[in-house]
Symmetry: D2
Subunit: 164 residues, 4 copies
């Protein structure tokens, strides 16, 4: 079936955290999305663009405005956003309020890809798939499921996403 | 959004190959699908059932009949089948000819999961996602894309799937 | 060649750090040494004992006394200690001062094993090997090299061990 | 303690086997030893040289002569050889017969490094360590142990090395 190109916006989150062996802390360097798409042998045309590399707990209203504006001005009609899980639902609501008219799917990971994360690869495959077939709207793709952007929350005790 | 349970039929293929350290050969033992779903933190209700554990080059007409019959008699309306890539398109055509009235998505991997396969995890996330939202029909989910079951072939030189 | 049993004391360190997916922080749970020895197909008789599970920056004089005392009272004459890299040299000096009369080899890792650490496995293989053949004394086995316990320091800028 | 440079001869073996995703077979391309030493943060001066890339079951007398001659003519006095496990003991005996006067340590792996082999990394760390401290002679370093070259055999049922 025909596939349209997908814009893939990177914003950071657990997905892209690295281990700094000198400080012993987790930090951000470059996104792993390119490597993940290559190892996945992904043949969907994706245009990857890093908007920011931050923990989603540090995401400000200005950051969310930048994400919304990037979605609005993207030439693609289908968009995937990698995002920290803690405030993914807030960004989904900001995107909903902005009514971009596009299919926007947010995804992330509970474990960094660099830590051998299985959920990052699985979620990326899931998000790119939902983004190809769902109608315009804002969605969260986590745990193999897809949630409407205004009816999702992270259950922090369980580390999973659930419907509200 | 509401999710129905998905039946996940395992048939073997590269996906599930293991390295036998005594003989130095690749072989089949148990499926890795349970472990993959666990590491992926998958929360879609999946009912995993191993139908066979074979290289798809060794798949006979009787094997394909068994797969078709299993899809027909499954109580779920949405089905994912893990399958060797070499004859995935043949099995898709056998399923199409049988008109099960269900959404059936075949997927696989170019590299064994036990070999640190990134495409297995990515493809599993992709197949489970397409299976949740596509209308009844037979599909192949590989390389992040989804193909209609009667319009797909494996390009063996490139190791990718493409539309016919 | 005949091998004596080796006592393997676990004290924590980067070696054994895990990623807590709920808090997004690194923490200690159980040691990975058993799993590492199993995957390494190690056939040296090792008696693994966890003395503590701490970051070596948090190691107190009392902790070091406990390590020294454990080495002294062990029935084995050959001992490997997994240890955080930051104060490994201090513990080596404490062991030297105590003159246990045994062959004691300290080792660790710059990257957690759970993070796909290659240096943890390599260093464990190295430390167990040096411990089998070196005469009584205190040694640090890091970066494939072995250092006398009183002539070693961690170069924190480079993340490597060097002779003093 | 002072370390001499070590010559590291690569001959192939399970250690270096890769998965060919087009044919589904294991094969040899380039050695992984450089990458392994880098990930291990190894700081021993090693001079890596690929002599051949073959399954040790395919090793001929001429191949063994070439290995012996390479050891003899190497300027280093300490040598590690990566080698398939099936005929590692035969090569050890050929080296013993040649009396090179050097410390030669053979090692290998039961699982390919590219298959996430833990024993390859562990064995490499072990072999490089034994090579630094053992007197001239021919040794096999496998399973964390070291064997005299004339008193070792592979137990093929168990997949381990043992003394004869």
């Amino acid at each position: 079936m025909a596939t349209e190109p997908i814009r893939l916006f990177v914003t950071g989150g657990t997905f892209d955290k690295e281990y700094d062996e000198l400080s012993g802390r987790l930090y951000f360097k470059d996104t792993h999305v390119h490597e993940m798409l290559r190892l996945a042998r992904c043949r969907v045309e994706t245009h990857v663009q890093t908007l920011m590399m931050i923990d989603s707990l540090d995401m400000t209203d200005a950051d969310r405005d930048a994400i919304v504006e990037s979605c609005r001005s993207a030439s693609e009609r289908r968009i995937v956003i990698t995002h920290g899980t803690d405030t993914m639902a807030e960004t989904a609501r900001a995107l909903l309020a902005a009514s971009t008219g596009k299919t926007v799917v947010l995804t992330g990971a509970m474990v960094p890809y660099a830590f051998g994360s299985s959920d990052g690869l699985f979620n990326l495959g899931s998000a790119l798939s939902f983004a190809q077939v769902l109608p315009p709207g804002v969605y969260v793709a986590m745990n193999g499921r897809v949630f409407a952007g205004d009816r999702v929350r992270k259950n922090r005790e369980g580390g999973i996403f659930e419907e509200t």
